[in-house]
Structures are given as C-alpha cells and as structure tokens.
C-alpha cells in the first residue's frame, strides 16, 4: 500500500518537475535506509530501556571503524561488517552489565548522561587511535548504472545500501512478529510490569535489546562509511537525524521508526530543490540554501514534538496529560474533604 502511494507520488513529481527530482528522491531513499536501520535499533532500546541513548551515534562510528580495521588487515568488507555486527552485539551487552543495569529506576536522565559519557569515550578513543583524518573503505571503482536519462545509481553506495537496509527491515519484522523473543520484546516495550507479571524474562529481553540495538548501529555505521568517508564524528553528526526518525515515528515502535526514517531521509534530500529555489534573489535570496537541508528534519522533529509527541504512527496515550492531572487533583481534593469530615470520629476510633 505504502509502496504504491510512494511510487505514485514519485511518478507525479517526475511528471511535474522532470527526472531531476527523482535524483533527490533516490538520494533520500539511500539516506533513509541508513537512518531506518539505525532508528530501528535505537527505538527498540528506547522502548525497552526507557532512555535516549546519546552514545548511539558513536556506537555507529565504532562499528564502522571495527569493520575498517578488519578490511585494512585483508578481510573483505562483508565479513568485516558481519564481525563488527557480532562484536557490537557483545559490546551492547557489556554496556548493560557494567553500567546501565546500575542505573535502573533512576529516571530517564541518569542513563542519558551516562550514555553521553560513553559517547565521549568512544569518539575520543577513536580520535586518539585512528587520528582525525578521513578513512575510506576499499570499494571497487564502478560506474553508476543508468536508470533514466540523467539518473544513475551506484551499485555499492546505492543498490547495496538499499538492499542491506531492506534486508534488516524484513529480518527485524520477522523477528518482532513471529519469534517468541520478538513478541516478548514488544510486550516489554509496551508495559514492563505487565510483561514481568506474565512471566516474561525481562532481563533476557533487555540484553537482547542491547545486542540488537548495538549490532544494528554497527551495520548503519558501515553503510554510512560506505556512502562517504569515515571520520570520528560521523555517527554523532547523524544521531539527531536518527532521533528525529525515532520520535517522528513514535518512541519504541519499530514500524514507526521505519516510517519516520523514510520521512526524515526523504524530506532532507527532497528539500534541496526548494532551498535552491529560495536562494534566488527574487524569492528570498537565502545564502547557501542547500546547507539548510540538514535542519529540515529537525524542524519536522520539533513540530512533531509540539503537536504529536507520541509520534505520527504511535498510539495517543489513553489519558491526555492535562485530563489526567485534573482527575488526580480532584480525587486528592475529594479525599482531603472526606478525611476532614470524617476526621473527628475516626480519630476517636483510633485512639484507645
């Protein structure tokens, strides 16, 4: 359904603006597939562990650099990526064991701060070991495959990225929908206490969430490095985009993250023609308009946070917050009044 709508919209755009718009759309799809992979990992962890992991971007960088180190030692990139996937799964579990299990029940801010600390350690560890220069994966030099006049797709940067993104989306869908672990994960993300009460081993689910989240970060990092070059800050630079995708889709909902990632990636790339149009002196005369494409997803993020904080695909909370407060306050006032009216008699009853 969604695919049909997307294709119809793209065909309409191409009809109106020419094939140039398809180039931006394709770029947006490639960015989207990276963001979606990262956002699925981040949202699963967010849903189950209940905090915003600011180290996620740096986890992506770490995954990319692990794969880089392996490829520099003669391993092929695919095996390097798989090894980095497994290594980061273990890394995630170690993080939970060593740090985050100690911060359980301390609200969302304490683990957030700890994750910033982890991000600083990873980012600067990479800086001091690998230096600040840009590294490249050994990708064979191939030409773009032409699709339409003026429109081509790179076999590695385009098709491979899209393919890996699709593969991970499908496999995470199968995991969440058809396996017991996936069902347990969704249940835990939905309601931790209820999941515990039904006998789900939430500890195991937490470890699985960490492993899955970190390993998805690794793959997203490798794809990101494949698209351009590896630098110590590459993950942190894309982190807000991933957050935007997660929040736009609704926190804790992997399907929302897919939708959010698509929206965020496409809006970023497809805003370029609009921004270029704004650059024209007779419109606004904006300087360096296309530099603002990075800000477009954040504008969407802020709008979603203001008007639909539960996300475009998420479920609206059962009680709107204000109604909840009003109910609570009236109830407590009622209790006070009741206690006061009963006060005299009950006090005498308690006293021996």
């Amino acid at each position: 359904m969604v695919a049909v709508i997307v294709i119809a919209v793209l065909a309409g755009l191409a009809f109106v603006f020419g094939t140039i718009i398809l180039k931006y759309a394709l770029g947006g799809m490639v960015i989207s597939s990276i963001v979606i992979v990262a956002a699925i990992g981040l949202t699963i962890l967010y849903g189950i562990r209940g905090f915003a992991n600011f180290a996620y971007g740096d986890t992506m960088t770490l995954g990319a650099y692990i794969a880089l180190v392996l490829t520099l030692n003669g391993v092929s990139l695919i095996w390097g990526a798989i090894a980095s996937f497994l290594a980061l799964a273990a890394f995630g579990i170690v993080l939970e064991l060593a740090i985050f299990s100690r911060l359980e029940g301390r609200g969302p801010v304490a683990p957030l701060v700890a994750s910033v600390g982890i991000g600083l350690i990873i980012q600067n560890g990479i800086r001091s070991v690998a230096g600040t220069q840009k590294w490249l994966y050994p990708v064979p030099a191939v030409q773009d495959i032409p699709i339409a006049p003026g429109l081509g797709i790179h076999p590695v940067r385009g098709i491979l990225t899209l393919g890996v993104g699709l593969l991970l989306v499908v496999s995470s869908h199968i995991l969440l929908k058809y396996t017991n672990l996936g069902k347990a994960m969704r249940a835990t993300a939905d309601n931790l206490e209820l999941a515990k009460a039904t006998g789900i081993d939430t500890k195991r689910v937490t470890f699985a969430a960490w492993a899955l989240s970190s390993s998805f970060a690794s793959t997203a990092g490798v794809l990101l490095g494949l698209g351009s070059a590896l630098s110590p800050t590459m993950g942190f630079e894309i982190l807000l985009l991933v957050f935007a995708a997660v929040i736009v889709g609704g926190i804790g909902s992997p399907y929302g993250a897919m939708l959010g990632g698509l929206l965020v990636g496409l809006s970023q790339e497809m805003s370029v023609p609009l921004l270029v149009w704004l650059e024209r002196p007779d419109v606004i005369g904006l300087q360096f308009g296309s530099a603002y494409k990075v800000a477009v997803p954040f504008v969407i993020l802020i709008l979603v946070l203001i008007f639909r904080p539960w996300g475009i695909a998420g479920r609206r909370p059962a009680f709107a917050r204000r109604a909840f407060f009003i109910e609570r306050i009236t109830r407590s006032l009622g209790e006070q009044v009741a206690a006061r009216s009963k006060g005299a008699t009950s006090k005498e009853a308690i006293k021996p």
Binding site: V109, I118, I121, Q123, N124, V129, F325
Partner: protein, 447 residues
Amino acid sequence: MITGRSKMSDRQPPTSEIPWSGIVVFSVIGGIVLIGILSAAIAGATPKGILTNLGFYVSIAIVFAILALGFNLQWGYTGLFNAGIAGFYLIGAYVAAFAITPPAPPIIVGGVVVFPGHLGGFSLPLPVGMVLAMLAAGATAAVVAVPALRLRADYLAIATLAFAVILQIATTNLQSITGGSIGITGIPPPIQYEGTDAQFLNAMTLVGVGALILLASILVLQFMAESPWGRVLRAIREDEEATMALGKNTFNYKLQAFAIGGALMGLAGALYGVTLGYLSPASSFAPSVTFSVWVMVIVGGSGNHRGAIVGAFLIYGMEWISVQVRDQAVVGLAANYVLMRGVFLGLGVDALVALGLIFVLGRLRPGLAWAHPLALYRRSAVVRGVMLTAFAVYGVGWAFILVEQFAPSAVGDTIFYTRLMLIGVLLILLIVYRPEGILRERKRVLR
C-alpha cells in the same frame, strides 16, 4: 526553627566535621594552576606571560561557571534537562557582539565576497550589550520553552538539542547577518590598553569584570533560590504533580526558571565574546559545549551554586591543562621521552618486584602471615595507597610504550583527546556512584 533543626540532626547519621570533598576539590584546582605554571615555565615564559595565561584560564572558567549556574537553575533546581545550552550561549554572544562592535561593512572585490561583515556595529558600551544579550537569550528561551516544557525530560533534551543545532547551522550560513563561518572579529575589550603590557592588562581587566559579574549572578541567584520562588522550583523538581495539587501554576514557574537560566547563558555568551575578542560558530557553540556544562554541574553537584562554579573551574581546568601540556610541555616531554619511559617502567617494575618479594617472604615463614599482600592491602590505607601507586606508575610506563607504538607523532593530540575520554569516564563514575556530585546539595529540613 533552631529546635527543629537540632531535633532533625539527631536522626541523621553523624557527618564528618572536616569538609573532605571541599579540600579535595580546591587542591585539585590548585594542582591545575600549578601544572599550568610549571608547563609554561618549562617552555620559558615570563612571569607576566604566565599571569596572562592564568588570567585567560580564570576568565573562560568564569564564563563556563555562569553557563553552569544557568543550567543549574534549570536542571539542578527545577529539573528541566536542557540540551540546548550552546544555542542560548550563541544568541547571547552574537547579540552582544552586534551591539558593541564598531561597524563592519562587507568587503566585496569584483563580485567576490572577501569579508562578509555582519549585522549591527552599533559601538554600544559593554553593559548595554550584556543586558541586550540577556534579554535576547531569555526571550528566546521563553519562546522555546512554551512548547518544549510540555515534554518529558528526555524529549525536552532532544528538542532543545535540535534547536541548538538548527541555530548553529543558521549562524554558519547566514553570512550577511552573522559573518558566516568567518564569524565576528574585533570585539572590543572592556578597556582599550596601549603599549607592550596591553595584553597582560587586558587579561587582568577581564578577570576583574568576569569576577564582578559572577559575584553579582551568585548573589542574585542565591537570593532567588532561597526565596519562596526557589522553594517552588525545588518542589517541582521533587514532585511536579504534588506541587500542582498545592495550587501552584507549575508551568509558569518552569517557564520563568527556563527563561532566567537562558538569560544567564546569554550573559555568559556576551562575556565569552569580549574575553576572546572574536566569535566563530564552528567549535565554540558546538553541542560539545552543552555536554561540558552538563559534566561541570554533575561533577560539582547539582542544586547548589558552589557546585556549579567549582565544577566549571575543575572541568575547564582539565581542558586548559591539556592544551597547556600539548602546546608547551610536550616539547620538553618528547625530548625526554625514552628517559621518562625508562623511569616509569623501572620504578613500576621495582615496586612490583618488591611486592612479589613480600609475598614470597610471607609464604616462607608462617610467622610473617601479615606480610601477605592481600593482608597488607586490608591492613592500612597507606600500604593500600603505595601498592596502587606502584601499579599506576607501571601502567603509566606502559601507556608511554603504547602511545609510542600506535601514535608516535601525536603524543600531544593523544593527551588532548584522552582528556575528553577522562571526562566521559568521570561522568559515568559520578552518575553511577555519586549522582549528587562532589559538593552535595544542603539537605533542607522543614518542620
């Protein structure tokens, strides 16, 4: 009141009279200053040069202290986790710069923009610029707060971070207004000095101005925090719903705290521009500034002003020292590299051998059971300290070898980045083991 306090103190566990945490903090800051002086002396600086350098440290640390005070009002007192500190800081810095700089028209040579210039150039006096900066940053904070404060803590963090990043992108690209990536240069200092001593006198003036502003902010904040208004803020932090139920409009209080905190950050920005003399959006207003301020408040201890200030001096001190060591002492260090590696490794090995000997002796003679290293370790704090130091010295020796192996040319850079890693480690350790910070908030007991 007095009787109430004494009654409560009976129930509380006895606390030590000696303020250990304060002593530790001030000796560490003293150590930072000492290392700075030493590394400058190694590089052969004059006393005046060293003092200028130290003055720079103090004035930037004061800027960070004001930032930390603003964040402390928002988070430490009210519980609003702001991740857009860099954004309000940026607004203050630029507004003040627009107000106090002389006019800077763009220079265009043959249709190519050589120097973009920037908005403003009103040559207003510094206090006016600072007030304008506070007003602009405070108003922006209020505007941001109206939608953002309805959000939960972590959503608030992400929304404010996004705001700061958008602002940074806009500042970098709106060339005709902000000067773009070139930034703003030629921000006049408080007093224009002439002659050879100008730099030294300027540094000293900046320290004085900064100290005055810091003192004023502390006094005002102390008054506000102790007033009924501050009490409501703390109540919101502890339990917002209960505060609401008591009839307080918590949203208004949160909005006020957020706006005043934002205004303080703007003031810090204004002071920063004056201290440095120029502004560039790339590094000074990056999200890492926000993280630094978090660390300062968490390390120092949230919810009290002393903690925020001490944290600022401590954490910025670490940064400053790493730059000092990188720029000045590394030259001397690299020359004595092999020697130092040998000294550290040799001392470490000797200490380890000694420990091994003690262990063997303890095994040989049943009467010497106390000489077993584990028994010694448990026996006294002094022995424990000696043993740990031995291992640490040995570790430093190995660190030299590792650095030589992996990054031979980048010793200085490694020190610089290791500092940031150390901040990360500190952040994690503190949040896990001592979330109240080094200087904890005074327990307030009401009867």
